[in-house]
């Protein structure tokens, strides 16, 4: 017996059984909810966005400060290896042996200057050169030359220590791609990229990657009960957003004079000049972002695992010039304030999950706050406007090639 959902699905499919096309609503403040839950959309996003003409944040130099340090990560389903070689240079490779394509390194981080493939013992240095491949005379073709088999590399760029990659030769140069945002990144990091790694909080959200990216960082004053209960309200603030889908947020932070709910107020103490006490964040299309909140400096490296899973590494840093007391303060503050168990952010995950669970219901999600013209993309935004996400959604729509519904 055919159930109701199957009838609808069958009616939507064309004669070849292909997935129905996504038709974008005409109004600029509506999102079709099906883009968050359809596996075919996810596969198309990997191709067009994550492996397309975008730069993806994968690490910060401060995560591999010493010669021989390495980190492995993924963009979509593509494994990457990031090394600091014996000249101190940063390199990014596809994490695959140049011989038969075996994943070269499996640890998430460590220190080594040589990477050996377990299959045929091909040996690479941290510069990606093939330096050993056991063979007897006559084993390999006569013109075999080790220098033709280095580890393959994606394009990479470094901005204030932030390491980005792109898999597409047509992606614009990083300066053009991040136009207007390079100084904002420095602002989040506290001046420049001279950071010191403190560690990470990793979480897997059972939600689509766009749900995470769309809702992370913009909503603080609305969602977080902790802010209200602590009488901790934001001062003036503003957001920027551009046609590439990047956005930034800067807000003053007004701390309550008396914290009567907490016995240890160091959790929300700001060490530094009062005038410097602000929140700042930058989110880069498609998925990752960075925030400075009180004395925490964090980069949120995120990766889409599947249509309904997104892994986020909340990675925290101090400044290179910090003394041990400041480092201790940053660690104590970040550990308890942010991340999947943080006082002000634990409920983020719960909202992501509920958005995702209900994403299978029909219709559109609606953006209202800060929307002045429901057919136009806004250009100016207040502190907690939803509208600042709309330029990014228009960039998404165009990148995915989804047509707008005809009137």
């Amino acid at each position: 017996m055919t159930n109701h959902a199957e009838i609808i699905a069958t009616e939507k499919q064309d004669a070849k059984g292909a997935n129905p096309p996504i038709i974008w609503p005409q109004k600029a403040n509506l999102l079709p909810k099906e883009i968050f839950v359809r596996p075919d959309v996810f596969e198309e996003e990997l191709a067009r966005i994550f492996y397309g003409k975008e730069w993806l944040m994968i690490a910060h130099e401060a995560e591999i400060p010493n010669i021989g340090d390495f980190k492995t990560t993924q963009v979509g389903r593509v494994p990457l290896l990031i090394t600091r070689d014996n000249d101190g240079e940063i390199n990014v490779y596809y994490n695959a042996c140049s011989h038969r394509g075996v994943q070269l390194e499996t640890a998430t981080s460590g220190n080594k200057l040589r990477f050996r493939c377990p299959y045929h013992s091909w040996l690479f240095n941290a510069k990606g050169d093939l330096i050993g491949c056991p063979n007897k005379p006559g084993d390999f073709p006569s013109d075999f030359d080790k220098s033709n088999y280095p580890l393959d590399r994606p394009r990479m760029a470094i901005v204030h220590g932030l390491i980005l990659v792109t898999f597409n030769p047509e992606t614009p140069p990083i300066e053009e791609y991040l136009e207007g945002y390079i100084d904002k990144i420095a602002q989040v990091f506290g001046g420049d990229g001279n950071l010191r790694l403190l560690g990470a909080q990793k979480v897997v959200f059972h939600a689509n990657w766009k749900t995470f990216h769309d809702n992370d960082t913009y909503h603080a004053g609305l969602l977080h009960t902790a802010f209200q209960m602590l009488n901790w309200s934001g001062g003036s603030g503003h957001q920027t957003a551009n046609a590439r889908g990047h956005r930034s947020y800067v807000g003053e932070v007004t701390l309550p004079e008396e914290v009567n709910r907490l016995k240890d107020p160091s959790l929300i103490e700001f060490k530094g000049e009062a005038s410097e006490c602000s929140s700042a964040s930058v989110r880069l299309f498609p998925i990752s972002g960075m925030t400075r909140h009180l004395n925490t400096i964090g980069i949120r490296f995120a990766n889409p695992i599947s249509v309904d899973e997104t892994e986020v590494h909340y990675t925290y840093f101090g400044r290179a010039e910090d003394d041990e007391e400041m480092i201790r303060h940053r660690v104590r503050q970040a550990s308890n304030l942010l991340g999947p168990c943080g006082m002000v952010s634990m409920e983020d995950a719960a909202v992501f999950h509920r958005l995702h669970t209900a994403g299978t219901t029909p219709g559109n999600a609606v953006f209202l706050k800060g929307v002045t013209d429901d057919h136009g993309i806004p250009e100016e935004f207040q502190q907690s406007d939803e509208a600042a996400n709309l330029p990014g959604w228009e960039h998404y729509r165009q990148t995915m090639g989804y047509p707008k519904e005809q009137s």
């Binding site: 897997v204 902790a226 907490l262 999947p340 409920e347 983020d348």
Partner: protein, 164 residues
């Protein structure tokens, strides 16, 4: 190695079972009552990955008694209504105990926590790992001076509202 008398081990095991019973019951005052009421009492939750890399960052760092008290406030007063609730079921097994003198013992225990989110009603594994505890034992009872929770997984499933 110095033999630890069965009375001490019994008090330590009673403390561990009381601990898992109160957190499964979401009794945060009961949770607090398993710790010594001294300034340096602490509860830290981190991952084996952070520990291996010698990174100080943790998921929870209640490294003084005031922060333990604040944890009770956060769970009981700040967070209710903001998340989809879930039940936990803890299992604990002592694997080592060392006498540090002056009534203090270092105890290691394996633990496993199942979770049952209210919206699915399906139980899944939430975390496994090791409790590294400093326990103070007197003539009446045992209490935690410090509890360090180290999960095997480096990645938290969704979020965590109640202490592990």
């Amino acid at each position: 190695m110095k033999q630890i008398c069965s009375d001490v081990l019994s008090k330590i095991d009673d403390l561990q079972t009381r601990y898992i019973a109160v957190i499964d019951a979401k009794d945060m005052e009961g949770w607090l009552s398993t710790f010594c009421q001294v300034a340096e009492a602490s509860y830290v939750y981190t991952t084996a990955e952070n520990l291996r890399a010698n990174h100080a960052m943790a998921l929870v760092m209640d490294d003084n008694y005031q922060r333990l008290q604040d944890r009770v406030t956060i769970v009981n007063k700040v967070w209710p209504g903001t998340y989809a609730d879930y039940a936990t079921r803890h299992f604990v097994q002592r694997t080592a105990c060392r006498d540090m003198g002056a009534g203090k013992y270092e105890v290691e225990s394996n633990f496993m926590v199942m979770t049952t989110p209210e919206e699915t009603g399906r139980s899944t594994l939430f975390a496994t790992g090791v409790y590294f505890d400093q326990v103070v034992v007197d003539k009446d009872q045992a209490l935690f001076l410090s509890k360090k929770v180290v999960t095997d997984s480096s990645v938290v499933e969704r979020f965590m509202a109640y202490p592990l």
